[in-house]
Amino acid sequence: MAINVVLYAPLVFTVFRRRRRKVNASNLADAFNGLELALKEAVPDLPAGFTWEEAIGRLRASGVQTKGMEAALRSYEEYRYGGLPLTDIDFREVVKVANMLGGTSTVRSGGASVGR
C-alpha cells in the first residue's frame, strides 16, 4: 500500500497539475490572461517587465507558429489599451499556445525548441 502511494502519488499530482493549467477561455481577454500565466510558468527567464511583442518574439524564435496569435493580439490590444469593445475574433490559436506551454513545455532563451 505504502509503495503504491509512493509510486502513484507523483503521477496523480502531475495529472492534476496539468488539468489545472489547461486554459479554458470564453473570450479573447481570458485567452490572453491564460497565455500570460502559461508564459510566466513555462519561460522562467522571461523578465517580469515583458510585453506581448517581446513574448511573441520569444515564441517565434523558439519555432512556435504565432501568425494566428498576432492578429488576435492586435484585437486584444485595441480592447486593452484602446478602450474598444472585445471583438469575436478567433482566439483558439492563443489558447492552443497557452495549453502547449502549460505544464510540460519549456521555451528556452536563445531560440531553442519548444518541447518536453
Partner: protein, 311 residues
C-alpha cells in the same frame, strides 16, 4: 494616413541618406510630438544631411547655426537695430525664426547662449527687451554635439538636457551600408533630389491627431512605476523627471499614430524609452566605482525588465 506619410518620409530622405531609418523615424516622431532633438555623433556621420533632407521633404524652412565660443544670444534670436531711415529701433529676427533649426555643436556655445536658445525651445517664442515674437509653426531644434571633444566645450547641464525630447546617437554605419554610401557618393548626392511629401496643413492635422491618441490609465500607472523605479535606482543620482515622462508619453503617441494605431501600448513606451530617457539620467559615480554599470542604457533596460506593464 500617418503610416503612409511615415513611409514616404523615410523613402524620400533615404534618397540621399542611407541606413538611417531609425533616426528618421525618431525625428518624425519628435516633430509630431512637438519636441526637440539632440543628435550625438562623431563628425561625418550625416547628421546635418539628415536634418536638411528631413526639412526639405516636409517642405519646411531650414537654417543652420554653427555654435562657437564667441557666439552671442543676439546671433541666434535676433535683436533691435537702429533704422536710420525711420530713425527708430526695429526688431531684426535671428536665424531661430525658422521651422527646423540645426544648432551645430551646441556645447561649444557659452551657457548664456545655450539658455537663450533653450528658453525659446520651451516657450516657442522669443522676448528681447520686452518685445515678444512668436516662433513659426512647426518649430524644432535639432542640436548636435560631438561626444569626443572635451576641450573648449560647455556641456549642457541636466536641466537643459531635459528640454530635448530625444537624444539620437548617430553611430558609424555597418560595412554594407558604408559600401552603399561610397557607391552613392560616386555619382554625387544632391539634397534637391528630395521631394516635398507633406503640406503644412497636413502636418498640422497630424500634430493634432497625435493629441487624440489614447493612453489608458493602466499605461499611465505603468509609466509612473517606471519613473519611480528610476528615482529609487541606487546606481542613479538623478532619475527621470515628470517632464521626461510627459515627453515619453507624447513621443509614444506619435509613434503609435505613425504605426496606424490610436492607442499607446507598453511596447511603444519600451521601444523608445532609451531614446527619450537615458540622456536625462545621471549615474552615481560612487556606485560606478563599486562596479555598478556606468551605462545608463543598461540601467534603464534593467529597470524596464523589472517593472511589470499592463497586459
Amino acid at each position: 494616413m500617418a503610416a503612409e506619410i511615415r513611409d514616404k518620409v523615410v523613402n524620400e530622405v533615404g534618397k540621399v541618406v542611407i541606413g538611417r531609418e531609425k533616426e528618421i523615424d525618431l525625428l518624425l516622431m519628435c516633430l509630431l510630438a512637438r519636441g526637440h532633438v539632440l543628435l550625438e555623433g562623431v563628425p561625418g556621420v550625416s547628421k546635418t544631411l539628415v536634418a536638411n533632407a528631413f526639412a526639405k521633404c516636409l517642405g519646411l524652412q531650414f537654417k543652420r547655426v554653427q555654435f562657437t565660443p564667441d557666439i552671442l544670444p543676439l546671433d541666434i534670436i535676433g535683436g533691435f537695430v537702429f533704422n536710420l531711415k525711420d530713425r527708430e529701433f526695429e526688431f531684426r529676427k535671428g536665424p531661430i525664426f525658422t521651422n527646423i533649426l540645426l544648432a551645430d555643436e551646441i556645447n561649444r556655445a557659452p551657457p548664456k547662449v545655450q539658455s537663450a536658445l533653450l528658453e525659446s525651445m520651451q516657450e516657442l517664442q522669443v522676448t528681447v527687451e520686452g518685445h515678444t515674437e512668436k516662433l513659426p509653426f512647426p518649430f524644432m531644434v535639432i542640436a548636435t554635439q560631438n561626444p569626443l571633444e572635451f576641450e573648449g566645450v560647455y556641456p549642457l547641464p541636466e536641466g537643459q538636457l531635459d528640454r530635448f525630447m530625444v537624444k539620437v546617437s548617430f553611430k558609424y554605419p555597418s560595412k554594407e551600408v558604408e559600401s552603399d554610401i561610397l557607391k552613392r557618393n560616386l555619382s554625387g548626392i544632391d539634397v534637391n533630389d528630395v521631394k516635398t511629401v507633406l503640406t503644412l496643413s497636413e502636418l498640422e492635422a497630424l500634430v493634432k491627431e497625435v493629441d487624440g491618441v489614447k493612453v489608458s490609465d493602466d499605461v499611465l500607472a505603468y509609466l509612473a512605476r517606471v519613473a519611480e523605479a528610476t528615482r529609487n535606482e541606487g546606481a542613479l543620482v538623478l532619475g527621470a523627471s515628470p517632464r521626461a515622462m510627459v515627453q515619453l508619453v507624447h513621443c509614444a503617441r506619435a509613434k503609435a499614430l505613425l504605426e496606424g494605431r490610436r492607442y499607446v501600448t507598453p511596447d511603444d513606451l519600451k521601444s523608445i524609452a532609451n531614446d527619450v530617457l537615458t540622456h536625462r539620467l545621471t549615474i552615481d559615480r560612487a556606485a560606478a566605482l563599486k562596479g555598478v554599470s556606468r551605462n545608463p542604457e543598461a540601467i534603464l533596460t534593467a529597470i524596464l525588465d523589472r517593472v511589470e506593464p499592463p497586459r
